[in-house]
Symmetry: C3
Subunit: 310 residues, 3 copies
């Protein structure tokens, strides 16, 4: 079955198809007639968004995508607190009930591996919308798609990832997918305590992919094509010196390459100054919108029984 469980399930051929479809989806959605036609595609199908922890942004993105394709929608944002889960029902049992109501299930869960557990029992496709410290594959797909749209290529790029690299699951998946393409180099900007995991470094070494680490934002970003910035946890922000070293503001922007793009999975809380928003290199709101088209494509491919995985 066509589950979307992990970024690692995609190869460059599969990605190329998804990105081409996403371009078409955006073009169709850009006109009233196209939008109207899209709603005829999957009428009669229903998607469930089953969120065991709230993630309003991700949920709304999936729900807009589904409805633009004509699907009906059943939704719960606090499955953990409200539903039968509170009475002690297992995730597996919940999935086996919901798969009788819906044709595809988007699952967000606080436990690593939950999406795979759901897929093991589900009669309908599961899309992982984030499971604990594990995976968030649709974020990774939209991130890579954004690079392609902004820079028109995915190879031979210098990619800088900064902020809290120790806890951010989005950076990890992004690095993994970008390493599928030839000639990409990575620079990780972080403090010692927020460094990227050793597993990622081993992964890069094994694939003989060039990378370096620095705690200096200005040093790290000088040759960047892509700057992928992430939010520091609240407790880190209280360390003002630390936090201020990781703020991209107008002064920093002046030192950056002219064609580098700034990406961020959002929400941000100050690590990119609002004044940067008007800079054409600020790609993060376009990145968020790309999530809509990417999710439309995934839902469309899944319900059309087109293979997603290698």
């Amino acid at each position: 079955m066509n589950h979307v469980l992990a970024a690692s399930q995609f190869d460059t051929n599969g990605l190329a198809i998804l990105f081409a479809e996403a371009d078409k989806m955006q073009a169709a959605a850009a006109t009233p007639t196209g939008s109207r036609l899209l709603t005829g595609k999957h009428q009669g199908h229903v998607m469930a968004t089953l969120f065991y922890e709230p993630s309003t942004r991700t949920r709304l993105s999936f729900e807009s995508a589904a409805q633009r394709l004509g699907l009906g929608l059943i939704s719960t944002e606090n499955a953990r607190e409200f539903s039968s889960a509170a009475k002690g029902e297992t995730l597996e049992d919940s999935i086996r009930v919901i798969d009788g109501y819906a044709d595809v299930i988007v699952l967000r869960h606080h436990e690593t591996g939950a999406a795979s557990r759901a897929a093991a029992v589900s009669r309908v496709p599961i899309i992982n919308a984030g499971d604990g410290k594990g995976e968030h594959p649709t974020q990774a797909l939209l991130d890579v798609y954004t690079v392609l749209k902004e820079l028109s290529r995915l190879d031979n790029l210098t990619i800088v990832a900064g902020g809290d690299l120790a806890h951010g699951r989005t950076v990890r998946s992004f690095v993994q997918l970008m390493s599928l393409y030839a000639g990409n180099k990575f620079c990780f900007v972080s403090t010692p305590e927020l460094k990227i995991g050793d597993d990622i470094k081993s992964f890069l070494k094994q694939k003989r992919i060039e990378f370096r680490e620095t705690d200096n934002l200005l040093d790290g970003c000088q040759e960047a094509d892509v700057i992928y910035w992430t939010r520091l946890q609240k407790e880190r922000l209280e360390n003002k010196t630390l936090a201020s070293n990781f703020v991209i503001d107008k002064a920093v922007m002046k030192t950056l390459p002219k064609r580098a793009i700034i990406m961020h999975p959002l929400p941000r809380v100050g690590e990119i100054a609002a004044a940067v928003d008007r800079d054409p290199r600020a790609a993060y709101f376009r990145q968020a919108e790309n999530g809509l088209y990417m999710r439309m494509v995934l839902i469309d491919q899944i319900l059309s029984n087109k293979s997603l995985t290698r």
Copy 2:
């Protein structure tokens, strides 16, 4: 008006029509073309799910049903906490406002009799999705429909109901509806403190319907055609001896008749072992799915102004 308030409002003729319609609904929904056609049935209508206490499973089942028939949906799962109710508005006033927005209202409420109070003032049909210790008629309908689908008849059955029979409103309604059919016998498996209510026993005696009571699962189920199992309350589960006496596991399954079906309103919390799920007699997930078709039929009949009640 076509309210659905209580299991007792249905007679065998009315049930036969609903069950025949549910079969057709499932057949139509099983193909993409059929699903698509169904969404054209009630376009332009809106259903409200007004839940004063959360019941995610029931809500999602109704909401999937409505959307598969083309209805729009307005929904609130914690009307009690959030809405005007918190400011002191009566249920009656809330209904009188919502009935201006929706063409049918699905009501879940913590107070017994709430559905009837709503029906007394509403300008649109009310479907009772559970009111306190009172009624949950759509659950009763799907339960009886499940017996028919699984066993191809509704009469001359030995029906075993077990677990917490004192507090479970689903068992009570199920017994009442099954007693409409000739030749059915009942066996109630429970501890003295969780016995089925005297009112149900009086009801059965008055109708001269055979029943017996036992606290022994193995004894009770030997001649069962239908085993309707229910969840023990959390506080009961702490009594391990008590709880373990009411677990249906693979060993128990070996002693049960070959064609007996196991039903459960779900969620379960251990009183049926997960290993039982793969046994073809385990009907509880099919039972949950039947709820979708039964609710589609009720919404369809109501909006088509077809009489539901005797």
Copy 3:
């Protein structure tokens, strides 16, 4: 862009068009065929209801309106607690993400001025569904529309507003809009501590509009064409003497003019007795329903790019 931010943005010409459209909308929605045709109007569009504080009634009214026009819907009722806002995201950032998913955003916020802040950054139209002590323009529109439907005119009316006039934003907007029409007079019924704001009185004086104040319900309402009653806050209700002086019951109704209508933004908590509901002058439930048609019109006009503002 066609934002709906404040009651003051409308003039009598614009209002006349909206009210005529609302009549048509109600007529179309009154038949199955008309309802079905309406759902074809804006298919392919998606509305977001972004509520930073719950207001179930207002949310459901907008969501029913949108779906009756064929829109898809993405919705959150506790954006403040759940979403990225809890992680420190600004309203502006949230809007910039949501405007990539939706074609129109209905915003409810606890801070005065939030709707204007949202409109300043949004790429799609914003409809203000209440922002703090500020504005709630769609309520004001439906209130004025109700007067027109009930009394067939908007001028030369004696309008009595009573209850908590100090804190009720709906009364303030209603008075402002009704003062656009010639010959209207106002009477404010309240206690000294709950009097209408000096700004409203200055506004009326400047426009040379007649008004008076009283703390006596019976005195105030004797010549009323319109009685706009509002809820006392809970803490006021504990003052039983105070509260009982502001209850419209059957006895009070006997003293009122035969053609006066009773309006209320709802919810009520006793300041209009339930026994009054059956009196044909009780217009408050019809008023609530008018909100549906008014919101359908606003969504329709906005998505059709028809100008709303002077």
